[in-house]
């Protein structure tokens, strides 16, 4: 299993990560080695085995829909890098 730099770029794009050229090459090698190791799973016969997404035996239960106090807007915006009039500010999305 050897990844190409194009594949690395495709994954980085999906993950919204800007990589340096040095990182692209290093991750290409390291991810290739890890995926090579993970390939041993292909040898395992899993025909008829159902996948485990959660180890819980209970299903996610609902709860009564009762209003309760939450955090204030001031608390919520306290960590934001850029705000205006109690909104998150970002560059224009539409031209």
């Amino acid at each position: 299993m050897t990844l190409t730099l194009e594949q690395v770029d495709h994954i980085a794009n999906l993950a919204r990560l800007k990589l340096t050229d040095e990182e692209r090459e290093r991750f290409r090698q390291q991810l290739s080695a890890i995926l090579e190791y993970a390939a041993r799973l292909q040898a395992l016969d899993t025909a008829g085995i159902s996948p485990t997404a959660s180890v819980l035996s209970q299903s996610a239960p609902g709860r009564p829909d009762i209003p309760r106090p939450g955090l204030s807007l001031a608390e919520l915006f306290a960590n934001a890098p850029d705000t205006e009039a109690e909104q998150f500010r970002i560059p224009p999305v539409f031209e």
Binding site: Q30, A33, L41, F88
Partner: protein, 491 residues
């Protein structure tokens, strides 16, 4: 006066109640020790001495009033300072997760596990170092520098809860909270010679824990003994409506008899956990510890967990897949630093590219790949099926035994820098701890000896779902007849 930093939780409880020392004196002693040893160890990412001392003063007032009416209830941890791994939210305390992408984040609320300790009277002593977003086995992936092992400063403390383990081992905290997604409480506990619990998945609410691998993440505790760790675990455990995966089962009583008697306890020793290539001293110490449990009345038999070898590839597909989704929230828009760009998309790429560290990027990429179109079935899907087989191994084994005893890790603490260039070699340190997370079962790590270089060796006991009590009882019996857990590093 005796050195208050050496006391365990039960001794501290007694001393505070009797008024032999105050919470202020204890807190001051711990803060002084932190001051003198932190330059060498770097177990903490933040401490707030004035804040903690103020809490201690309030606790002393509560203790003073209680002594006038000692029949009134007193919260069990009143006045006891506890360290918290820096992936758990504590209101008013910075929560960095060891990452630059949260370098300026201060949560406005408490994690449920923290809230329950505060309700029990505990004080927050500080936030401890961690591999970035708990991804790592050494704390070398912390953006704020490595923590050093108190037994040998050239070695790692393990990870990702390495700061918590080092703090407890170096007596910079009587106890600490950690988190365990693939061994992150147990492996550092073993490397630092302390006791640590990874509870059953769903036993302790994950509300306020910064998510890494949501189907695997658990919150545990590290301390000087099984008894101390059981005390903190019992206060944190139990259903929480704020976490939909939190179990509704009642918490059973944890009985820790004064006499070490393990008659009736059936212990399984799986051959798959005593592999060639592991450090001989580790195998010897663990086998010797199993013999000790046998002399206390336990019966020991071989068991088989045939899919053990697949746990590592399964974990390193499932955990990164979940991480890639969980860490999508760090986008430079709502919290954390922002690296500006012309468009919103540029902000995402720039902020994430610049502020995530190498291991986090590696796992996000790995997980994104495993989930991507064309590869999902071969990687993520196959890993989920293999997870079913690993879980099935334990179900079968627990038809024959109550507890499974294994080493925590194949070696003792490795040297700082030894594995940083080879991620796969680092991942191999987790081979004995990953299966418990994949199966969701509880597991306890505690010290059972030292290697020829004076580095601690840990044993792991794994139990049935929601049967933490048997693990605590078994380790407590062992600690009644041994003194490994009492030994301290020379610092």
């Amino acid at each position: 006066m005796t050195d208050l930093t050496v006391l365990d939780l039960i001794q501290i409880q007694e001393g505070l109640r009797k008024g032999e020392f105050s919470s202020g004196e204890l807190t001051r002693a711990l803060l002084d020790r932190i001051d003198s040893l932190e330059p060498a160890l770097h177990a903490y990412l933040s401490v707030q001495p004035e804040f903690t001392l103020k809490q201690a003063k309030a606790a002393d007032e509560r203790l003073r009033l209680w002594r006038k009416t000692p029949e009134a209830p007193l919260p069990p941890l009143t006045g006891i300072p506890i360290a918290i791994k820096d992936v758990l939210c504590v209101a008013g305390w910075q929560c960095t997760c060891g990452s630059r992408i949260l370098e300026n984040f201060t949560p406005p609320y408490n994690a449920t596990a923290v809230e329950r300790l505060l309700q029990a009277g505990a004080l927050i002593l500080g936030k401890t170092n961690t591999d970035e977003f708990a991804m790592g086995s050494s704390t070398e992936n912390s953006a704020y520098g490595v923590t050093h092992n108190p037994w040998n400063l050239a070695h790692v403390p393990g990870g990702s809860s390495g700061g918590s383990a080092a703090a407890v081992a170096a007596r910079l905290a009587p106890a600490a909270l950690g988190t365990d997604t693939g061994g992150s409480v147990r492996q550092p506990a073993a490397y630092c010679g302390v006791t640590g619990i990874k509870p059953t998945y769903g036993r302790v609410s994950r509300y306020g824990l910064v998510a890494y691998g949501s189907s695997l993440d658990t919150i545990g505790a590290l301390g000087r003994s099984a008894r101390d760790v059981a005390t903190i675990y019992a206060l944190m455990a139990g259903h929480d409506p704020l976490d939909t995966t939190s179990a509704r089962r009642p918490i059973g009583a944890i009985a820790l008899p004064e006499e070490p008697d393990l008659r009736g306890v059936r212990i399984g020793a799986p051959q798959e956990y005593f592999i060639s290539g592991m450090q001989p001293a580790v195998e010897q110490a663990v086998r010797e510890a199993i013999r000790t449990l046998e002399t206390l009345g336990a019966s020991v038999q071989p068991v088989s967990l045939p899919h053990t070898e697949f746990a590592l590839p399964v974990y390193y597909l499932i955990a990164p897949a979940e991480a890639s989704a969980n860490l999508a929230r760090y986008d430079g828009i709502r919290y954390g630093p922002r690296i500006s760009g012309e468009t919103m998309w540029d902000i995402f790429y720039n902020t994430r590219g610049e502020k995530f560290g190498a291991e986090v990027k590696r796992r996000i990429m790995l997980g994104t790949y495993a989930l991507s179109a064309g590869y999902y079935d071969a990687y993520y899907g196959q890993a989920q099926k293999a997870r079913t087989l690993i879980k099935g191994d334990f179900e079968k084994a627990f038809e024959q035994v109550d507890v499974i005893a294994t080493p925590v890790a194949p070696t003792t603490a490795f040297r700082i820098g030894e594995h940083t260039e080879d991620p796969l070699a680092m991942y191999l340190e987790d081979i004995f701890t990953l299966p418990a997370n994949l199966a969701g079962i509880p597991a306890l790590a505690f010290p059972v000896g030292f290697d020829q270089n004076g580095l601690p060796i840990g044993m792991q006991l794994m139990g049935k779902h929601f049967d933490e009590a048997t693990l605590f009882m078994t380790a407590h019996a062992y600690q009644l007849v041994t003194d490994w857990h009492i030994r301290q590093p020379n610092l």
